[in-house]
C-alpha cells in the first residue's frame, strides 16, 4: 500500500511530468517551431486566459463544488467589455464588466452557498441563462472595438512588459495573490476546511455560507479579468467566444491534481495543469492534428490522472 502510494506520488510528480516531457520532445522533433520562444509565449499568453478563470474556479472546487457557468460568463463579459468600450470608453467598460462578474458570482454564491442548491445544476442553469443574456445583449451579432490601435485598452491583451506579454504578468500576479489567499489567510483555511468536512466546519464556527459565496465571487471575478484580457486581445467578440472554456478549465484543474471532492489542492497545481494542457493542445495542433483531437487526448489524460490519484489513495487499482 505504501509502495503504491509512493509509486503514485512519483508517477504524479514525475510520471505526468515525465510523460509531458516526452511529449514535448516528440513534438519539437517533428515541429521545430514548437519550443521556440515565440511559440512558447503564444501558448502561455493563451493559457493566461484559461488560467485566470481556473484560479478562481480552484477556490470553488476546493470547497467541493463546481462552476460550469464560467464559459458563458466569459462570453457575456467579453461581449460586454468590447461593446461598452465603444460606448463609454475603456475605463468604465472595465468597471462595468468587473461589476457584472461580481454580480454573477454573488448570484451563484447565494443559490449554492445560502440556499444550498446543487452546484452542478445551478451553474448549468446559469450557463443557459448567461447564454440567453448574451444573445439578448448582442442580438446575435459580433461586436468589435472601433479603434483597436489607439485605445489604451490594448494594454491588457496585446502589450508586453520586459518582453513578456501583459496577460502573462496578470496571470502570474493573480496566481501569486490567489495562492497567498488560499494558503496563508484565514479565508483560505476556511475554504479547505469546508471542502474537508463542511458539517464539522459549521460546528466549528466557520461561516460556511459566506465562504462559499465568496468562492463563487472569486470565480466570477477571475472570469471577469479573463474577459478583459480576452477582449483586449481579440478586440472583438462573438457569441461563441467563451464556448467550451468551462471544460478546459476543469480539465486543467483535474490534471493539476486538485481533487474534485474538495479539501485539497493549490493554485500552483492548477497553474501547472492548465499550462500543461495548453502545451498539449498546441503541440497536437503543430503535429498536424485537428483541434478536436485535443478533446480525445484530454479525455484520456484526465481519466488516467484521476484514476492514478484515487488508486494511490485507496491502495489498489480497482475499486
Amino acid at each position: 500500500m505504501a509502495l503504491l502510494k509512493k509509486a503514485s506520488e512519483t508517477a504524479q510528480k514525475h510520471g505526468l511530468l515525465g510523460g509531458f516531457a516526452i511529449f514535448l520532445a516528440v513534438v519539437s522533433f517533428s515541429s521545430p517551431e514548437f519550443l521556440t520562444p515565440g511559440n512558447i509565449l503564444d501558448v502561455i499568453r493563451q493559457v493566461s486566459i484559461t488560467g485566470m478563470i481556473a484560479i478562481g474556479v480552484t477556490f470553488v472546487v476546493i470547497t467541493g463544488r463546481l462552476d460550469l457557468s464560467v464559459g458563458s460568463m466569459l462570453t457575456l463579459l467579453t461581449v460586454l467589455v468590447v461593446d461598452q468600450h465603444n460606448q463609454v470608453g475603456p475605463a468604465i467598460a472595465i468597471a462595468y464588466t468587473l461589476f457584472a462578474s461580481l454580480l454573477i458570482g454573488i448570484v451563484n454564491g447565494y443559490l449554492i452557498g445560502f440556499m444550498r442548491l446543487n452546484s452542478l445544476i445551478v451553474t448549468l442553469a446559469m450557463l443557459s441563462l448567461l447564454q440567453g443574456a448574451t444573445l439578448f445583449y448582442s442580438g446575435g451579432s459580433n461586436v468589435n472595438v472601433t479603434n483597436p490601435q489607439e485605445t489604451w485598452f490594448r494594454f491588457f491583451g496585446r502589450s508586453e512588459f520586459i518582453d513578456i506579454p501583459v496577460p502573462v504578468w496578470i496571470f502570474f500576479f493573480a496566481a501569486l495573490v490567489g495562492s497567498f489567499v488560499l494558503l496563508k489567510t484565514n479565508f483560505g483555511r476556511w475554504v479547505f476546511s469546508i471542502g474537508g468536512n463542511e458539517t464539522a466546519s459549521l460546528f466549528s464556527g466557520v461561516q460556511t455560507r459566506w465562504v462559499v459565496l465568496m468562492a463563487y465571487v472569486i470565480s466570477g471575478f477571475g472570469t471577469g479579468l479573463a474577459a478583459i484580457i480576452m477582449g483586449s486581445r481579440v478586440m472583438g467578440a462573438q457569441s461563441t467566444i467563451g464556448q467550451g472554456y468551462e471544460l478546459t478549465v476543469l480539465s486543467g484543474i483535474i490534471l493539476g491534481g486538485t481533487s474534485m471532492l474538495g479539501g485539497s489542492g493549490t493554485i500552483w497545481r492548477t497553474v501547472i495543469g492548465v499550462t500543461m494542457l495548453g502545451f498539449v493542445q498546441n503541440g497536437l495542433l503543430l503535429l498536424g492534428f485537428a483541434y478536436y483531437v485535443q478533446w480525445l487526448v484530454t479525455w484520456a489524460v484526465i481519466i488516467l490522472a484521476v484514476w492514478i490519484d484515487l488508486a494511490a489513495k485507496r491502495g489498489r487499482v480497482f475499486v
Binding site: N186, F192, G196, T199, F203, G205, V206
Partner: protein, 498 residues
Amino acid sequence: MNDIILTADSILKKFPGVIALNRVSFDIRAGEVHALMGENGAGKSTLMKVLSGIYNPDEGAIHHRGKKVIIKTPKEARELGILLVHQELSLSPELSAAENIYLGDWPTNRFGIVNKRKMNAAAKIALDELGCNFGPEVLVRNLSIAKQQMVEIARTLVFNANVVIFDEPTGTLTTTEKDQLFEVVRSLRKKGVAIVYISHKMDEIFEIADRITVLRDGEVQCTVNTSESTIGEITNRMIGRDLDQYFHRAKAEFGAELLSVNQLTIRGLFKDVSFSVRAGEVVGLYGLIGAGRSEVAETLFGVRQKDSGEIIFDQQKVSFSSPKQAIEKGLALVPEDRKSQGLILGMGGRHNMTLPHLSLYSNVGVPRVDKELQVFEDYKTKLEIKTTGPEQLLSDLSGGNQQKLVLAKWLCAHPKLIILDEPTRGVDVGSKSAIHQYIATLAEQGLAVIVISSEMPEVIGVSHRILTMAEGRLVGEYTGKEMTEENLIAAVSGLTAA
C-alpha cells in the same frame, strides 16, 4: 443442552493500526440468547460483522453446524441462515416493506420479473407473525424506526434464519417498543433460533440473555451463564476496574447562573424545554437516542434555529443564527459524532485546533503559525494527546485521542459554557477516564458544563444534577441521591407507557 450451531475459533481481525479481534473464540447454541457485551471499541460489532460475512477474518475459523465454513459475503451468510439485524438499519427507504424484506433476493421468474403477489403474501405472513400492524406494501420511509426494525427482523423469518444477530437494537426504541422486541426475541428462541444479542445496556441483558460473553479490547474476558453472574461482576469485566473508581465528579461549588432556557421549542423535535445551568455545575442530560437532546444542544449552539422559547446566556437574551455567534459569546459544543461533526479528519491537529478561533491566532486575517504551534503543544501536553505532531492527519489518531483533540479545540479559547454530547463514545477506557477527570476540572475552574449521555453510569457518575428527556420533552430532574438508574429509566419510559 442445546446443540451448538455456530462457533468462532480464534478469530483474528486487524485494521490499520489496531487489532480489533485478538483470537476471539465464541459459540452459540440453538434456542439460546447469548449476549455480547463490551465497551465501545471492544470488538462486538466487528465480531458480528465477521460472523455475518461483512468482514473476512485474517485468521481463525468459523464452524456452522459442525462444518467449517468460509463466509465471504453477507449473501453467503444468509444462505447458511445467519442474519444480522443492523444497528444502523440497512433498508431502502423508497422501497416497500416487502421489497426490503426480500432485498437482493426478490422472487423472480426466468425473465427477471418480480412476483409481487408471492412476495407480498410471504412478507405479510412474516410481519403478522411479528405482530406488526402495517402491511407489506407500505413504503419504509413512512415507518417509525421500531417498525423498520420489524421489517429487518421479518427478513430473518422469511429466510429461515437459524442464527440471528441483533446489534444494539434498542437504541432508538421506547420502552413499549423494547418490550415488543423482547417478545419477538423470546418467540424466536422458542423456535430454536440461536440469538446473539449485542448491547451495552446491562438491565436489558440481564432481562433477556441466557449467557453473557464479555469482550474488552478485542479479547474475550469471560463467558458465563446469566443466572450465575451479577451486574457488578460483568461491569468489572467490561471495564477492568470498579465502577466507583471510574467516574469523577467535580466539587459542588456553584457560581452565578450562566444559562437559562425557557420553553424552547422546535416543532417535531422538542417542546417546551426549560432548565438552567450555573457556573461550576455539571448538568447531565440523559435520554434515549431520538429524545431530542442533541437537537436542543444544537439549538443552543446556533446550528438550529428555535421556533419559540427563550435562551438567556450570561444575563443576556440571545438568539444565535450560527455557531460563530455562539462561539463569540463563549459557548462550545463537542458534538455527538466527532468524525462527521467534530473534526476535519483530512487535516492536522494544528489546523483543527485553531479553527473555531482563528482570529485569536492571526494578524489581519493571516494566521500566525508560531502561535498556533504554541497552543497545540500546550494542549497536547495538558490533555496527553498521543500524536506525532501538529500536522499528523487526524484520521490516523485513535478514537480517544481524536476526542481529546476535539476537547482541546474548544478549551483553548476558554469558553464559559461547554456542552459535551456523548463525550466518550467510541473511546478507550483509559481516555474515557481522562476525559471524565477533565470535565470535573473544567467545572472546578468555573465553567458551566452540560453532559449529554446515553450511558447511565457515566451520566450519574459525572453530574451534579441530571435532567431526563424523552420524545422531545424534559421529563425529570434529579440531584444528589435521587440520581439512580431506576429513577432515570422510569423517567424516560414513563411518558410512553401506552
